[in-house]
């Protein structure tokens, strides 16, 4: 018996627009289907962790009231774009601690039609006398006057900084990454968008924050994803079929950004991702070269590039060459975001950190249909939320 924790059941809803369903409807669909996928019921669950960034607090209890008030401890989790991964880690930790045999994690969001994230702010009080406010003593809204702290511009600068640091000058690499992910989504029926886009189409679309055009930004949509985890000891008492389809969680890591010069001026998404990756590879006893597929947090095309490097999929500074080699296309050495990624599959924020695990599990179980990465044994799922939080899960198939 080991202290390994396994994913027993997992599910994601189709991402898209659900004008007639609320967050509890979507979460309930995901949870009930994940339980069914694992061959267990709400009565078996010993803990629930749930996240929904945009709803009022208490999504876990609202879900319980619709599908099963069993009295178990429930955690309402909020950790920016790492919310889903944090909910999953909460369930995993509870099982690992021995407090529960089975745990349940769910993330849900309704974002279809939402505008830009992180871009809104207070407005200046025109006419009244200036009053310094906040930690910077500002007299009016700083967004647009002291640069940007909005997501599109922040991640644009992160990508541009990477190119500048390593002496690259061809900004088309970002649009090419987006071309890859939009192409990948054509094979994913659960993606919010499933149309391929040409490089010209992507580059000539509406500019949001140079060099990111609209298709290079994560797609706002509705969706939910849920996972059931189980202890190694309990799994061994279940059916052979359940054991065969179970996916081992070889590492579940959460980090925040350590202080470095400039990190409070432009968020540093690199160091905490690299730190999480190092810990994850060490715990799993797996190296980046062993990965059969990766789902990483391409909230913007400019972000995907830097994470090739942060996850050590390429040598330091080599992300552009790595991408240009074709390595991250589904036919390449290290397929990245074969689901279509956040740019095309969509990004219902709190669902994302479990939906990317669903994608990996789907391949490791050999159930991914036309987009199956043949013979996939090991995968990595990565999310990052600004603020910052990074979640990495390394997953392995059972081998039974």
């Amino acid at each position: 018996m080991s202290d390994d924790v396994w994913i027993l059941g997992i599910y994601m809803t189709k991402f898209g627009k659900y004008p007639d369903r609320d967050t509890v409807d979507l979460a309930a669909e995901a949870v009930l289907a994940a339980l069914k996928d694992g061959g267990v019921s709400m009565k078996d669950m010993g803990v629930l962790a749930a996240g929904c960034l945009m709803d009022a607090p208490g999504i876990a209890q609202r879900i319980q009231k619709q599908i099963g008030q069993t009295g178990i401890p429930a955690y309402n989790v909020s950790n920016a774009c790492a919310t889903g991964a944090t909910a999953l880690k909460t369930a995993i930790m509870t099982v690992k601690s021995g407090e529960a045999d089975f745990g349940l994690a769910v993330g849900v969001e309704k974002l279809a039609g939402a505008g830009l994230l992180g871009g809104a702010g207070k407005s200046g009080k025109a006419g009244a006398s200036w009053e310094p406010q906040g930690r910077f003593g500002e007299v009016m809204e700083t967004e647009g006057r002291i640069g940007t702290s909005g997501m599109p511009g922040t991640f644009a600068q992160i990508g541009m900084e990477y190119l500048h640091t390593y002496g690259a000058t061809d900004f088309d690499v970002f649009a090419k990454i987006s071309e890859k992910n939009h192409f990948h989504s054509t094979l994913n029926p659960l993606a919010a968008y499933t149309k391929a886009m040409s490089l010209d189409q992507i580059k000539n679309d509406i500019m949001i924050a140079y060099p990111n055009t609209r298709p290079m930004c994560s797609a706002n949509c509705d969706g939910a994803a849920a996972a059931v985890v189980v202890s190694d000891a309990k799994l061994k008492t279940l059916s052979l079929e359940q054991q065969r389809r179970a996916i081992k969680v070889s590492a579940s890591v959460l980090t925040t950004d350590p202080y470095e010069e400039a990190c409070q001026v432009l968020p540093n998404v690199n160091t905490l991702t690299r730190n999480a990756a190092k810990i994850a590879y060490e715990r799993a006893g797996i190296g980046p070269e062993d990965l059969d597929l990766v789902e990483l947090h391409d909230c913007f095309a400019t972000a995907e590039l830097v994470h090739y490097d942060n996850l050590m999929l390429c040598e330091e500074g080599g992300a552009v060459d790595f991408f240009e080699s074709g390595a991250t296309w589904r036919t390449g050495k290290t397929p990245v975001n074969v689901s279509g990624g956040l740019q095309s599959k969509g990004h219902p924020i709190a669902a994302t950190g479990i939906a990317n695990i669903w994608e990996i599990c789907h391949h490791l179980r050999g159930e991914a249909g036309p987009r199956q990465i043949e013979g996939a044994k090991v995968g990595l799922a990565h999310v990052i939320g600004l603020g910052s939080a990074c979640g990495i899960h390394v997953l392995e198939r059972s081998g039974l």
Partner: protein, 130 residues
């Protein structure tokens, strides 16, 4: 000067406008906001440190789409002012990718942001090509 107010606490107006940081006396980390302690070493003693007014562009973007009330387009940049990173707009240039380059030398400049009902003018800062 009494009829002017800096847009933010860390902008010092006068004959030689410049930014001033809260510098940790223990580790030298510099911050622009009001501090409880140092994010680098948790030290609680700070001194005021003038930030160099010249620097180079380490990264930039041109924001063309933003929340209502945010004036677009604008060039946002991270400027390395002799070792201290500063976020600000690049001003007095066309907001186009042809007008701004990575590594470009820039210098701090101020500009008026409007007056309140008492006639007090808010003064903002940005960086312009050196």
């Amino acid at each position: 000067m009494s009829n002017q107010i800096p847009f933010v606490d860390y902008l010092v107006l006068g004959d030689h406008p410049h930014l001033v940081a809260n510098e940790c006396t223990a580790c030298g980390a510099r911050f622009f906001d009001r501090r409880n302690a140092c994010a680098g070493c948790s030290g609680t003693e700070f001194r005021k440190a003038d930030v160099a007014t010249d620097g180079e562009i380490m990264s930039f973007t041109i924001v063309t789409f933003a929340a209502p009330g945010v004036p677009v387009p604008f060039v946002s940049a991270i400027v390395n002012c002799q070792g201290t990173s500063v976020r600000g707009n690049i001003i007095n240039v066309e907001p186009s990718p042809e007008s701004v380059t990575m590594g470009q030398k820039v210098t701090l400049a101020t500009y008026p942001l409007g007056a309140d009902e008492n006639g007090v003018e808010a003064i903002g800062f940005g960086f312009q090509p050196a």
